[in-house]
Each structure stands twice: as structure tokens, then as C-alpha cells.
């Protein structure tokens, strides 16, 4: 195992151990105590296992999980950023269908292997986006009567 995954394992297991210990602390200090009987049971096991995992990661004895390579991180980052903006802000702030259309098209353009210099590939992306949105609108707005946030745009 190279140092990169080892450091990643230490950070990841450290975060999980932090969450486990926080949950255990909250479970044992919050009132009413009767409401936290089951969480106390769970969080105790959670914290012990999380600390165990963290210690193993610190000692470099983690054998499962390959971590994330720098290349994979570089590849995923643009898509992840678009998805996060779309879900946490644009879907509600701009309008569900508008945000979905833009996010879908941007993701398609970011990851489609077809060359960006050809008009044909852009037309194909537009057609796929339009087709997908038509199906989504038909299914959710017309068939299932789901009322989505409209906000600024549709």
C-alpha cells in the first residue's frame, strides 16, 4: 500500500471515529435518558469499532479499501461540483426542471467522449437532454402529478 491510501485511510477512519465518539457522547449526555437507551447501545459499539478501525489505519494495517487515486479525484470533481450545485442550490433556487436540464446537459458535455469540436456531437447532446426531460416531465408532472419547486424559472 502506498502512502496516499494510508493517509487517506487515516483521515477517513479518523472522521468516522470522530462521528462515533460524538454520537456516543451525545447519547450518554442528552436528556431524557430514557429516549437514548437504544442509541447508547448502538453508539457504544459504533465508537469501539470506529476507534479500532482508526488505530489499525494509524498502524498501517488497513487491508481493505483502495482509497481514491488522484486521477479519479480529478475526473470526478467537475461532475461532483455540478451535481452539488444542482441538488443543494439550483433545483430549488432556479427551478426544478430548468436546473435539471442545465445540469444534465453540462454533465453530458463534461463526460461524453465525443469531440467537442463537432457540431454533430453537440446536437446529439441537446437531443438526448431534450428527450430525457420530456420523459421526466411526462412521468413526474403529468402521470404522477408531482409538484416541483418552480422559483425563478420553470
Amino acid at each position: 500500500m502506498t502512502d496516499l491510501p494510508r493517509n487517506q485511510h487515516i483521515i477517513a477512519s479518523g472522521l468516522i471515529a470522530g462521528v462515533g465518539l460524538s454520537i456516543a457522547y451525545i447519547s450518554f449526555t442528552q436528556e431524557p435518558a430514557a429516549a437514548f437507551v437504544f442509541p447508547r447501545l448502538i453508539s457504544s459499539v459504533f465508537a469501539v469499532l470506529a476507534v479500532w478501525t482508526f488505530i489499525k489505519a494509524m498502524l498501517g494495517r488497513t487491508k481493505v479499501g483502495n482509497g481514491i487515486s488522484a486521477q479519479a479525484m480529478r475526473n470526478m470533481l467537475p461532475g461532483l461540483i455540478v451535481a452539488i450545485i444542482y441538488i443543494y442550490w439550483a433545483a430549488k433556487g432556479v427551478g426544478f426542471y430548468t436546473a435539471t436540464t442545465v445540469a444534465f446537459f453540462v454533465l453530458l458535455s463534461l463526460y461524453d467522449p465525443a469531440p467537442h469540436t463537432q457540431l454533430k456531437s453537440w446536437l446529439k447532446r441537446i437531443a438526448i437532454t431534450a428527450g430525457f426531460m420530456a420523459v421526466m416531465y411526462g412521468l413526474f408532472a403529468q402521470l404522477l402529478n408531482v409538484f416541483t419547486p418552480r422559483e425563478i424559472f420553470f
Binding site: V37, F46, M76, I87, T100
Partner: protein, 509 residues
């Protein structure tokens, strides 16, 4: 023979139409690499909201059955298993296809799937009522241990690391406690308004299964899938039928192995296919031909992975303990209609339960018939670029999560859990025990509290939860599954180098 009484309900126009839709859609989804049966069923749940309970279950059950079988199409024609359950099919199926026997391999796989699947559903039909009667004797302490058993068995058997598997289960159990406590009404772990009502299971399931797949597709960047579809020549179906029954040893081994493995919570189709393949090879008179495009390899693997579908639902329908992630998703599909599976299901909702089971029986036949005819179309769909697939799955996940309660909070929960799950998976954690923890958490807590109240008024907590043969049996299974997995982990590390383990993990991911 109660199942025959409700058989007619499967053939009403709407029910049969949904069965057809689920079967054909499932075959196409199953053939698409990256769309696992669990994820396909999770994405379909929002479409069942406006259906009657049995109609929704028919759609989900048909999709479950045929996505498992549909995965064989891409395994055979593209050498990419549509789902982990089809890994063993690739070994001989793709070699057959490269030798010009693609059509024969597809026919054998669908016929073997149908035989295995029918046997599995018959097992479900005959075992479920017996176990349901037995389950009526379960008290709160037994149900508590059963819920813990569900999480630990899947946590230890489904994960490469016992500690990380159990930790995943604990994360799921903790997530289930978020929201208001049922008895005191106290707030627990409400760190954001989106989770004030607790974590809704459906958006959580969609996020945990779909979003990691979307991010995995992102990590491939702008690379194109260079898998080449092998053209399929015609092959008389009659010869394929004769071949399947001529290879009865492989068929029997696959069917029986798959059924037994299906009954064990958490083991899953991937193991069923590989174990059946291995056993058929051992018992075959032509074992040297395995791996060179031998029909027995395809028959054993495919009969096994479909034979496990029916039995994997037995613990869900009798004890309300989902035995697999897909069964957990189906449980979500039942819960949204206010139906709680368990021993009372067959008493209170016999029509729902039996129509669903009967539809799976008919679905196996439809899957075989349509599978043979639309394999070519399914293979073309399997070549959809991952950029398109990622965008479609993300869009469906967002719309599906939102439509559960018309709430953006559910979308935030779906996305947060999904992104977190992707990173957890990269560090050796598994979604299956987490999902089981999330679903079984409320069952475990309710029975733990109820049991504690009874215990305090009677014999005391220790005696109530730790005595009695059924408690002992359940505790023994929990301990045995953990011990067995720890032992297996130690043994596999003794004989596997670190490089081997890394290479194996990369191949599986």
C-alpha cells in the same frame, strides 16, 4: 395451495401489463452495466406510489427477477457482467459468444434462469406459510435478536472486512435513530431541518445505491467504453431446450445451490453463481472444458443466480427481516403502502402477498420468453455511454427522491448519504449492512424497548434477553456468523498477498 386461489389476480389487465413492463424494463436495465438489480428496484419505487400495493410489488418483483437474468446479456456479449450475480456467467458465456455461439449461450442462460427461478419461487411458496406460522411465536426479545442477526450476518458476510461490515451496520442503526423518539417524543441527533422527521428510507436507499454508481461513472472521465458487441447468429431454441435438460447435473447443482444460498441472509447472487459454477465443475465429467466456452458453466451460474431470488424473500415475508439489499428495497416498497411484512402479512393481506408471489412465478416464464427475443436490443442498450447513464441515473435519483414527499429535504438526504457512501465504499465499507441497519433499526429499537418494559416488570433484562432456546439460537447464529467471517478473513489474508487483494478489489469495483 392458497397461491392458486390468487393466481387469477395476476392476469387482470393492469397487473399483467405491469408484470410485462417490469419484466421487459428489468431485462434492459439488467443488461446495462452499472445498474444493479438493487439500484434498478430502488429507482423504480417512486413510480409505485400511485399504484395499489400488489401492483407496485408486481412491478418491483418483475424488475428484480429480470434484472438478475438480464445481466447475463452483457456478461455474454460484452464480457461485462450486468450485475455481480452474473460474474460466473462471463467465464464460459463470453467464450461461447466469441466462438460464434452467442445465441446458444443466451438461450441457455435464459432457460436455466427460468428453471432455477421457478424452483426458487416454489420454495418461497411452500416455505413462507410454514415459517410465517412459526414466526407467530416470536416475542420482542426474539425480534430484537433477529434484527441484530440481520445486520450482523449481512455485515460480516457481505463485506471484505468484518469490522468495517459491522461498523457499516452500526452507522445504519444510528441513522435509524435520527428524528423524534417514538415513546418520549424527544429530539435525537436532529442536526438539520431536513432530518427532523427522521431519515426516510426510500430517498436513503436511492442515494446509497444510485449515487455511488454515478460518481464511479464520473471517475472514468471522458474515456469511451470500448467493449465490442459480438454479433449473434441464429440458433434453434429446440436444441437449447434439449441442451439444458441434457446438462441436468449442472442445472440441478445450480438450482439447489442458488436456493440454499438465497435462504441465507446477506450472501447474495454473486456467491450463488460462483459457488454453483465451482461445484458443477467438480461434479462434471467434462470439468476440463470449464472456462473454454462450456454450456454447463452458463447453465450452473444462471440457474443459481435466479434460483436465489425467491428464497431471498422468505426472511422478509415471514420475519420482516430482509435477507438481501434488494429485499430491503422491496421492504421499502411495502412500507410506503402501509404494509408491514411478517407473520401477519398472510393473515391481513393475503391478496397482496399471494398475488406478488404468483406474479414472480409468471414473471419467470415471461422473463425467459422475452429474454430470448430482446437480448439483442438489451445488448445495444448496454452500450449506452457512461456519461449518458450517469446523467440519467442522477436525474432519476433526484426526481424519485423528491416525489416521495414533495420535499427537497429528502433530496438533500439522498445526495448526502450517496456521496458519503461513495467515499465509505472506497475505504472498504459496504452499503448492504448500512441499509439493513437503517431498515432494521426501528424494528430492533421498538422490540428492545418493549422487551425491556416486559423484562423490568417480570424476570429482569438479563434473563429476558439472554435465556430461552430461541434467544440462545439467535445469539449463537450472530456469534457464529461473526466468528466464521473473522476466521475466513484471517485465512484469506494468510494465503493472499496485499497486491492480490488490491487487484481483486479493483476488478470487483
Amino acid at each position: 395451495m392458497e397461491f392458486l386461489f390468487y393466481m387469477g389476480d395476476v392476469f387482470t389487465p393492469i397487473n399483467f401489463g405491469l408484470l410485462l413492463l417490469g419484466t421487459i424494463g428489468g431485462l434492459i436495465l439488467g443488461a446495462t452495466p452499472g445498474l444493479s438489480p438493487t439500484m434498478a428496484v430502488a429507482l423504480l419505487i417512486p413510480f409505485t406510489f400511485q399504484l395499489e400495493p400488489q401492483q407496485g410489488l408486481i412491478l418491483l418483483g418483475a424488475a428484480y427477477t429480470s434484472t438478475v437474468a438480464g445481466g447475463a446479456v452483457s456478461a455474454i456479449l460484452l464480457k461485462i457482467p450486468g450485475a455481480p450475480a452474473n460474474i460466473a456467467t462471463t467465464l464460459d458465456g463470453h467464450t461461447m459468444a466469441t466462438k460464434g455461439e452467442g445465441a446458444k449461450a443466451l438461450q441457455l442462460s435464459f432457460l436455466a434462469s427460468a428453471v432455477g427461478g421457478l424452483f426458487g419461487v416454489f420454495l418461497l411458496i411452500f416455505l413462507t406459510p410454514v415459517l410465517a406460522q412459526w414466526a407467530l411465536a416470536f416475542g420482542p426479545s426474539h425480534l430484537f435478536w433477529l434484527a441484530i442477526l440481520g445486520v450482523t450476518v449481512i455485515g460480516t458476510l457481505d463485506s471484505s472486512s468484518v469490522v468495517k461490515g459491522l461498523l457499516s451496520g452500526c452507522i445504519g442503526l444510528w441513522l435509524a435513530t435520527i428524528g423524534f423518539d417514538d415513546i418520549m417524543g424527544a429530539q435525537r441527533f436532529i442536526f438539520h431541518p431536513a432530518v427532523s422527521g427522521g431519515i426516510n428510507v426510500i430517498p436513503a436507499l436511492i442515494g446509497l445505491f444510485a449515487i455511488p454508481q454515478v460518481i464511479t461513472m464520473f471517475t472514468k472521465g471522458r474515456s469511451s467504453d470500448d467493449a465490442e458487441i459480438i454479433t449473434v447468429q441464429r440458433h434453434p431454441i429446440r436444441l437449447a431446450v434439449l441442451e439444458v435438460f441434457r446438462r441436468k447435473t449442472a442445472l440441478a447443482i445450480g438450482t439447489i445451490t442458488g436456493s440454499i444460498i438465497g435462504l441465507i441472509p446477506g450472501v447474495g447472487g454473486q456467491i450463488a453463481g460462483l459457488v454453483a459454477y465451482d461445484q458443477s465443475k467438480k461434479f462434471s465429467k467434462e470439468s476440463e472444458k470449464f472456462g473454454t466456452g462450456h454450456s454447463e458453466g452458463v447453465i450452473a451460474a444462471e440457474s443459481a443466480n435466479n434460483a436465489m431470488v425467491g428464497p431471498s424473500l422468505v426472511p422478509l415475508l415471514t420475519l420482516s427481516i430482509p435477507g438481501s439489499p434488494t429485499a430491503a428495497v422491496l421492504l421499502g416498497g411495502l412500507l410506503i403502502h402501509g404494509i408491514f411484512p411478517g407473520p401477519d402479512l398472510f393473515l391481513n393481506y393475503p391478496q397482496v402477498a399471494w398475488t406478488f408471489i404468483d406474479s414472480m412465478l409468471i414473471g419467470q416464464l415471461l422473463m425467459c420468453v422475452f429474454g430470448l427475443y430482446i437480448a439483442g436490443l438489451a445488448a445495444s442498450v448496454a452500450r449506452v455511454p457512461h456519461a449518458v447513464m450517469a446523467a440519467i441515473v442522477l436525474g432519476l435519483a433526484v426526481f424519485g427522491s423528491y416525489s416521495v414527499q414533495n420535499s427537497m429535504g429528502d433530496v438533500y438526504v439522498m445526495a448526502t448519504l450517496g456521496v458519503a457512501m461513495y467515499f465509505l465504499e472506497r475505504f472498504g465499507f459496504s452499503a448492504a449492512p448500512l441499509v439493513l441497519g437503517l431498515i432494521l433499526g426501528p424494528i430492533a429499537e421498538a422490540n428492545f424497548i418493549q422487551g425491556s418494559m416486559i423484562a423490568n416488570a417480570t424476570v429482569g433484562t438479563g434473563t429476558y434477553f439472554f435465556t430461552g432456546w430461541l434467544n440462545w439460537l439467535l445469539i449463537a447464529i450472530v456469534v457464529a456468523s461473526i466468528s466464521y467471517s473473522v476466521w475466513m478473513e484471517i485465512m484469506s489474508r494468510r494465503y493472499t498477498t496485499k497486491d492480490d487483494a488490491v487487484a481483486k478489489e479493483e476488478a470487483l469495483s
